[in-house]
């Protein structure tokens, strides 16, 4: 596979400007002759669809939610980064660029990250102009907060609802275009395949989730902004419907998948309370500033926390990492919690939880100060668990919540299928092996507002694209395949629900390819997943009909794709024998438990190419060259 990242030549500071000048333009009067399909209306998709329509392109946008405003982006809490340097604390494009490359443990493409830092400021300007109510200071100017992995305050926020407010801004812009007739919006519509004609993406096949109708839509280019795949673990902080279907289908049609094993784990989530648990809720990491993590010293100690005397408590982070204590980096604290629980010293129902205790902080600072700092989080915790964290220690446990891996894209955000562009969390581009907090929102909006509007025009202007309609034989062929697959799902006539398969898959992936991975476990997973997949197709039980609203069928289709994707995830984790960022191979660690990178062996993105059913995928490598940043050991000491 020829992986040309199309990185412009010249100094890194000038690449994007130079590229913008060199890219070809589409004459304003001709833009309306081009049709663009945008799948997904999260931050990346909504911003792209609105911006492309403003330019004059004909846009059709799709989402499976009942409204574009309900995309998973809505749930982001913390904030969005930008190199504005408003606090005058030394921030700059260079620094945001450097922090992102370093945070990603030197596994991202320099040129893309630099561009991201360059456009970050314009995102904030854009959002403010749209009326996004960011937090402000008394003087009327914007407020900033700090976030992990940075020594400057560059995070803009809107209370604890930053994702919601940014998405509503982009959704407003999108609704404006829908009202003007430049975007046709299809809600409750799920893309089930990409149609490739003569090597170019020319449309999609969808299922109308209300009527069950299978339809084709043709266009001159397709944009996927379909989010991340953390729900492969079943329990994650993602919304229930997040899935990998769009990515997996595109992969099978020739779009290469990069770095699937880069999945970060968030250390502070509310642990599961029983087998019925349907998702996990994230609690802001800021809690670790005042909470002390501990577990009982004795295995299987079932006493209530108050009855466990100080001498029988193990403040495991303070013990193992005395200099960092409770503020040890995300991955280290996550793994330490897992180790304690695997050792039988976990707390709460099921034994997979550790205490985060605020008693000391409350004693030292008073309840009022703690309430001021974390009041809304404490309330949320109490709502879910029924326990008052001012009185009993919180219980927390790590959980998956993001995907750095995704479809491979070049500098123009185009995948290895010509004309198929991928934005936001669905692509692999900017975060390397680990994403810094508040950088996903930035990337989604950068892709949608400020990158794709330029690069898609270049694609149209540099290629002769004849019109293709949905009566083309290839559309009919793909439609038939989609129908056949749905038929297979509905006629399996087995005994197990899609949810039970999803849970079992999640358990395998979480145990063998979660926080810590090793060769033995990954090899086991690579045996178990295909076996489970085989059982799925034989023993699946569905109800209802395919030509009707049918949530069970929807879920079954997504689980089927997770079952295939999970194998690629584990394979990628097995190939990458180094540890880096969110990918921790137990065989590759320093004496203090820090991840040990292998720059000589793995300074590349692993880019997987589909080779056909029942064939091992082909491994390609995109070498990462660092011209601007010097490779260094990622240390936060």
């Amino acid at each position: 596979m020829n992986l040309d990242a199309k990185i412009p030549s010249g100094p890194i500071q000038e690449k994007w400007d130079k590229h913008r000048f060199e890219m070809k333009l589409v004459n304003p009067a001709n833009k309306r002759k081009f049709d663009v399909i945008v799948v997904g209306t999260g931050l990346a998709g909504a911003s792209a669809a609105a911006s492309l329509a403003e330019l004059g392109y004909n846009v059709e946008a799709f989402c499976f939610n009942d409204s574009a405003r309900r995309a998973h982006s809505i749930a982001a809490q913390g904030g969005i980064n930008a190199a504005k340097n408003y606090p005058n604390d030394g921030d700059s494009i260079e620094r945001l660029f450097y922090d992102t490359v370093k945070g990603g443990d030197f596994r991202a493409r320099e040129a893309n990250v630099y561009r991201l830092a360059q456009v970050s400021s314009a995102i904030i300007d854009q959002c403010v102009a749209q009326g996004v109510p960011f937090a402000r200071e008394y003087g009327g100017l914007l407020d900033n907060r700090s976030f992990g992995g940075a020594q400057v305050s560059r995070t803009f926020y809107a209370r604890g609802q930053t994702g919601q407010q940014l998405l509503l801004g982009a959704y407003g812009a999108l609704m404006r275009q829908v009202g003007l007739g430049t975007v046709k919006m299809h809600v409750r519509t799920e893309m089930l395949d990409v149609v490739v004609v003569d090597g170019r993406a020319r449309g999609i096949v969808v299922r109308d989730l209300t009527t069950g109708e299978i339809r084709s839509h043709a266009a001159d280019a397709v944009v996927l902004a379909t989010g991340g795949y953390a729900n492969v673990f079943y329990l994650s902080t993602n919304a229930k419907a997040c899935n990998v279907t769009a990515g997996e289908r595109a992969y099978k049609r020739g779009a290469a998948f990069a770095n699937p094993c880069f999945t970060p784990i968030h250390p502070t989530c509310i642990p599961r309370s029983g087998d019925y648990q349907s998702k996990l809720t994230l609690m802001s990491e800021s809690l670790r500033n005042d909470g002390r993590g501990w577990v009982p010293k004795i295995r299987g100690d079932r006493r209530s926390p108050a009855q466990i005397p100080e001498s029988e408590r193990d403040y495991y982070l303070e013990r193992k990492y005395p200099s960092y204590g409770n503020l040890a980096p995300r991955d280290i604290s996550s793994r330490a919690a897992k180790e304690a629980c695997d050792d039988g010293r976990g707390v709460g129902p099921g034994g997979y939880g550790v205490y985060l205790d605020f008693a000391d902080a409350i004693g030292r600072l008073g309840q009022n100060v703690i309430a001021e700092r974390y009041g809304n989080l404490f309330e949320m915790y109490e709502r879910i668990t029924g326990e008052n964290p001012y009185q009993v220690p919180m219980r927390i446990y790590p959980a998956p919540h993001y995907a750095m891996g995704g479809l491979w894209v070049d500098y123009n955000l185009m995948s290895t299928i010509e004309g198929l562009h991928v934005l936001g969390e669905a692509n692999f581009s900017d975060h390397g092996a680990n994403r810094l907090g508040a950088s996903a929102l930035m990337q989604g909006l950068a892709d949608g507002y400020f990158i794709i509007p330029y690069t898609i025009g270049h694609y149209f202007a540099s290629n002769k694209l004849g019109k293709v309609k949905t009566d083309h034989a290839e559309f009919k062929r793909v439609e038939a395949e989609v129908r056949e697959r749905i038929k297979r799902l509905t006629t399996a006539n087995g005994k197990r629900t899609p949810d039970s398969f999803h849970r079992e898959l999640g358990k395998i992936v979480w145990e063998k390819c979660g926080m810590a991975r090793n060769e033995k476990g990954l090899k086991e997973a690579l045996q178990q997943i295909p076996a489970l997949r085989e059982e799925f197709w034989k023993n699946l039980k569905l109800t209802g009909h395919s030509d009707d609203y049918n949530a069970v069928l929807e879920h079954a289709g997504r689980v089927a794709d997770f079952l295939e994707f999970a194998e690629l995830l584990c394979l990628d984790a097995l190939m990458r024998t180094e540890s880096c960022g969110g990918h921790f191979r137990e065989e590759s660690q320093m004496a203090d438990g820090e991840a040990k990178r292998d720059d000589a062996g793995f300074s590349h993105a692993t880019v997987w190419e589909y080779a056909g059913a029942d064939k091992a995928p082909l491994l390609n490598k995109e070498p990462l060259t660092f011209e601007t940043v010097k490779l260094a050991v990622r240390s936060y000491k």
């Binding site: 405003r69 809505i74 009326g131 937090a135 009327g140 809107a158 609802q161 019925y276 668990t385 029924g386």
Partner: protein
């Protein structure tokens, strides 16, 4: 605990629906309401019956997808709580719980407890935005905004668009929803240029969609999981009258 669920079942928008009773045992108090329904649904599939359809996604109280009328209250009896954040510890052994969809002419039932709320999107299309294009905007700090006004704007912007206000209102009015969006922009300088057009267009679309009129009973405020304040309705009424008088 053991519960008896009376749930609205309706095949599609055309056929009539009815309540169906399901007994459910072994409900844990730690479950969320939707997890309780998940358990019911898994057992229905096992028996070869169609599960109860309901909208949901984030399960964190922010996406606005979940929308169940529980014992006559939108999102159930707990204040400031969406259905997905309601936990079973607020019910007790032996309870009979009635679950039905939002009831409003503008929200036709698609199946069981799933309704079509696209009318809210169409109201937004009529004016729920500031008409700026991508690019060419001034520096974000070029426009200082009084903190108090920015905070009020954020109070209004917290609306999750679930439609509980409509479901709670005896007239099925969407006033609180519309007022929240109008209010968000009315408190910001960015919203001033289109202030009059916005309120006229959005309320005009609201009427077209078949939502009822507001008679100031404020059940909407009580039902709102984000506690959007009714003051925004009063402010919108004033804006509307000003716009009508001056245009």
């Amino acid at each position: 605990m053991k519960l008896t669920l009376r749930i609205w079942r309706q095949k599609n928008p055309r056929e009539r629906g009815a309540f169906v009773t399901f007994p459910l045992a072994d409900v844990s108090e730690h479950m969320s309401f939707l997890e309780m329904l998940d358990v019911l649904n898994e057992s229905l599939i096992d028996k070869g019956q169609e599960p109860v359809a309901f909208d949901h996604d984030c399960r964190e109280g922010i996406c606005g997808a979940c929308s169940l009328m529980i014992n006559g209250y939108p999102h159930g009896p707990l204040p400031a709580t969406t259905t997905c954040q309601l936990h079973m510890r607020h019910f007790k052994d032996g309870d009979v719980i009635t679950v039905e969809p939002w009831r409003a002419r503008a929200f036709p039932v698609l199946k069981d407890c799933v309704t079509d709320r696209s009318a809210l999107d169409r109201i937004m299309q009529a004016g729920g935005f500031v008409s700026v294009r991508t690019g060419g905007t001034p520096d974000a700090n070029a426009l200082p905004i009084r903190k108090k006004e920015a905070d009020l704007s954020m109070d209004a912007a917290a609306c999750i668009g679930c439609g509980a206000c409509v479901a709670a209102c005896k007239n099925a009015s969407a006033m609180l929803f519309v007022a929240a969006k109008v209010g968000q922009f009315a408190h910001l300088p960015q919203g001033q240029a289109e202030r009059k057009e916005r309120v006229r267009r959005m309320t005009g679309q609201m009427d077209k969609e078949g939502f009822g009129n507001c008679t100031n009973t404020y059940d909407c405020e009580g039902a709102c999981p984000k506690q959007i304040n009714r003051r925004f309705i009063a402010e919108m009424n004033r804006d509307f009258i000003c716009a009508e008088l001056t245009e």
